[in-house]
């Protein structure tokens, strides 16, 4: 699946997107975050306060409890500050 990182999540992870195949036991957004945190310092920093990071599955906002099965694109970003 394609992972997208935006704003300070992108800066901390060090890239704007990547293709990753998480192991089958990773079934929710929250579990994906926990798995990503183990991939390196940048990820650990980006998700150190995981509850503040927002997620979108295929460009629709979701909670961390959402199942990721079938999603093509998962994005992580800070709380929005537009407007």
């Amino acid at each position: 699946m394609k992972l997208v990182y935006v704003a300070w999540v992108r800066e901390r992870v060090g890239k704007s997107e990547e293709e990753l195949d998480p192991p089958p036991e990773v079934s929710t957004v929250g579990e994906l975050i926990a798995w990503l945190k183990g991939r390196g310092e940048g990820y650990a920093y980006a998700f150190e306060k995981a509850a503040t990071v927002r997620a979108a599955l295929d460009r629709v906002h979701v909670r961390h409890s959402a199942a990721i099965a079938g999603a093509k694109e998962i994005a992580f970003f800070p709380p929005m500050t537009g407007g």
Partner: protein, 158 residues
């Protein structure tokens, strides 16, 4: 159908608002809101606005659909800029047309409350000394404003 645009260029708010009533005989009210970049007492040189390209237009359209489902609107235009924006320049526009003013005022306010908390845009502040001051933090006040309209909790994590 709402008109939704994400663009780098500035927009003409008057033209956009007038466009909603142009050539129509059923529109009795047009309410528009323009959000500007302010200089924060002289400390801010500019804002850099980043967005999530695939999602920004889609989420703005979803927000507009919710307003259209809630009030009998005759037109909605929402424009959000990206890139570098300096004090005095417009950032965002919402304009709403309806038969009567009540629903146009209410819908415009709801649209802005939802855009601020749900549309995937992020502001970075650039100080007058040229140094980047960092990402603007989300305000709890904005979440509270959005919550007034109900069902605004979709974007909350966990």
């Amino acid at each position: 159908m709402a008109t939704i645009r994400v663009q780098r260029e500035a927009f003409d708010a008057g033209l956009e608002a007038a466009g909603l009533a142009h050539g129509r005989r059923d529109v009795g009210a047009v309410v528009s809101f323009v959000g500007y970049c302010r200089d924060e007492g002289g400390r801010l040189a500019a804002l850099e606005l980043e967005h999530y390209p695939g999602m920004a237009e889609a989420e703005m359209a979803r927000v507009a659909s919710e307003a259209e489902a809630r009030w009998p609107l005759l037109g909605v235009t929402a424009i959000h800029r990206t890139g570098r924006i300096e004090p005095g320049e417009p950032i965002v526009l919402v304009a709403v047309a309806s038969a009567h003013r009540g629903e146009a005022f209410a819908a415009a306010e709801m649209l802005m409350d939802y855009l601020k908390t749900r549309a995937p845009f992020w502001k970075r502040a650039i100080g007058t000394d040229g140094a980047v001051e960092g990402w603007v933090e989300a305000k709890g006040m904005d979440d509270a404003s959005a919550a007034r309209w109900g069902a605004a909790e979709r974007s909350k994590p966990l």
